[in-house]
């Protein structure tokens, strides 16, 4: 059911906008195959497509078991596609929780594993149903609340309140059988999650979707999770800038259990420069052995006091990588600058 704000958004979004002429030209000129050929910028290699199909046909069956095992491993360790979280798990930065099922209205659940650091909070939930349910597609907790012992609100569906999560991803449910399923919830912090000793989790509405029907279950589920000392006494490895740079000054470089977070100050950037620096290939991180790391999924820019602050993270390098020195290269308007970061 759409409310007044839905209607407001809909009205605004549905308004006709001015479309660039170039866009209309693409549609109007499409009939001219010559133009299509010339203008297409797709960078497909020139390999004969039959050879490519043959290679795929040979390679795919060989790689299938590896892909299947890897994805199962990732799901089970609830790291999903996050290499940083996966590294943390491999280094035992994970708590496996030993708790009884919380039972309410035929739905029993417990938390199985958890990871919490400055950036990531991953919780693996285990659901058990009194009555079997086949082909579960989705489970959604619509009024989830998570807070800690100091009343820091980690996450809430009550949008009137400020909370510390930027995004939450509900990963696909993995059905074990008709009465058991697992699901990983992944929370990314706005800034930094607090060094909580205990998390209090509560909710009362769970929506289960199968291929055939949707079922809402009301009940009362609340439990607490004691977090291990290594979570709340966590410390990051701080790196500092060891080289001069004309345009870039590192404000923060912190290696945590799940990622490397960097804040860099530059002279104010215009939109073009922002976009240029936002391209993956224009910010490159290298270690002493020459291994390259790509910027992860977040890059934010913020203007303050005549400066632009770039905030970004590398999710494939963590404090478990035994880093002493890193080199970060910025390319901007054909200029190239390198910054050395050291412990």
């Amino acid at each position: 059911m759409k409310d007044l704000n839905d209607k407001r958004i809909e009205n605004i979004i549905k308004r006709e906008i001015d479309i660039p002429e170039s866009f209309i030209n693409v549609i109007e000129n499409f009939g001219n195959k010559e133009k299509v050929k010339i203008k297409s910028t797709k960078k497909i290699n020139k390999l004969n497509w039959k050879v490519a199909v043959l290679i795929i046909a040979i390679a795919l069956p060989l790689s299938m078991p590896i892909i299947a095992n890897t994805s199962k491993f990732l799901r089970n360790t609830f790291a999903n596609d996050n290499l940083g979280v996966q590294k943390a798990v491999e280094n035992n930065y994970i708590k496996n929780i030993n708790m009884e099922y919380i039972k309410s209205n035929g739905l029993n659940l417990k938390a199985e594993s958890i990871i919490m650091d400055n950036s990531n909070l991953n919780i693996l939930l285990n659901y058990a149903f009194d009555n079997p349910i086949s082909d579960i597609d989705n489970i959604f907790i619509s009024d989830l609340n998570i807070k800690d012992e100091n009343n820091n609100i980690i996450y809430t569906n009550n949008n009137e309140k400020e909370f510390l999560t930027k995004t939450v991803d509900w990963y696909r449910v993995e059905s074990i059988d008709n009465t058991n399923a697992k699901q990983s919830l992944v929370f990314l912090s706005n800034n930094k999650f607090p060094k909580s000793k205990k998390l209090y989790i509560s909710f009362s509405k769970v929506e289960i979707s199968t291929r055939l029907f949707k079922k809402g279950i009301s009940g009362s589920w609340s439990f607490e999770i004691e977090l291990p000392e290594e979570f709340y006494n966590r410390s990051d490895i701080i790196l500092s800038q060891k080289s001069e740079s004309k345009n870039f000054k590192v404000l923060k470089a912190e290696l945590s259990s799940t990622l490397l977070y960097i804040e860099v100050e530059t002279p104010i950037l215009d939109t073009y420069d922002r976009k240029y620096l936002a391209l993956k290939e224009n910010v490159i991180l290298k270690d002493e052995s020459g291994n390259k790391y790509e910027v992860g999924r977040n890059l934010e820019t913020e203007d303050s006091s005549g400066k632009t602050i770039l905030k970004f993270s590398f999710e494939n390098i963590t404090k478990y990588d035994s880093i002493n020195k890193l080199y970060i290269e910025f390319k901007n308007n054909d200029q190239y600058e390198e910054i050395v970061l050291e412990k």
Binding site: I9, I13, P20, F140, D303
Partner: protein
């Protein structure tokens, strides 16, 4: 195709910032649609089908250029809005004002939901995303918009 130009442009714009990239994505989409047209058995699904192709082409371009989200600071614009009455403000707002508040994934969800009237399920299929994630993102985006424009 011209009939769909508003819809297609808004979806491409929700995913890509650069006009050339948007045109490239459209061109790739049309090429792909043209060569696979026989696969569309029901005309009713043509629009959904072509939107799906467009989203994939935009994703390809986005990935090649780097999967980094760029947030544009719109504080100055928001300040001007405060001077206006709510009604005046609403009449001045446009698609760009809405999507500039949001990140790339949320922009596309909002566009598909409000502009194209797709259901949560359809969006989840189109974006290959869990339905719950779509719901959460939709709700977060709605609240971001509400806060930004000081709606109640």
């Amino acid at each position: 195709m011209k009939y769909y130009s508003q819809d297609l442009y808004k979806i491409a714009r929700s995913k890509l910032d650069n006009e050339y990239d948007i045109c490239d994505a459209l061109q790739e989409t049309m090429l792909s649609a043209y060569t696979n047209l026989k696969k569309v058995k029901d005309v009713e699904y043509f629009k959904t089908w072509i939107i799906k192709i467009l989203i994939n082409k935009c994703n390809d371009i986005y990935r090649n250029k780097g999967n980094i989200k760029l947030y544009i600071d719109i504080k100055d614009t928001a300040y001007e809005y405060e001077e206006d009455s709510i009604l005046n403000l609403e009449s001045k707002l446009a698609f760009e004002n809405i999507i500039n508040i949001l990140n790339e994934e949320d922009r596309t969800i909002i566009t598909l939901y409000y502009n194209n009237d797709f259901s949560i399920k359809q969006i989840s299929d189109l974006l290959n995303m869990n339905e719950n994630t779509v719901k959460t993102r939709l709700s977060r985006s709605k609240n971001k918009i509400k806060e930004k424009f000081k709606w109640r």
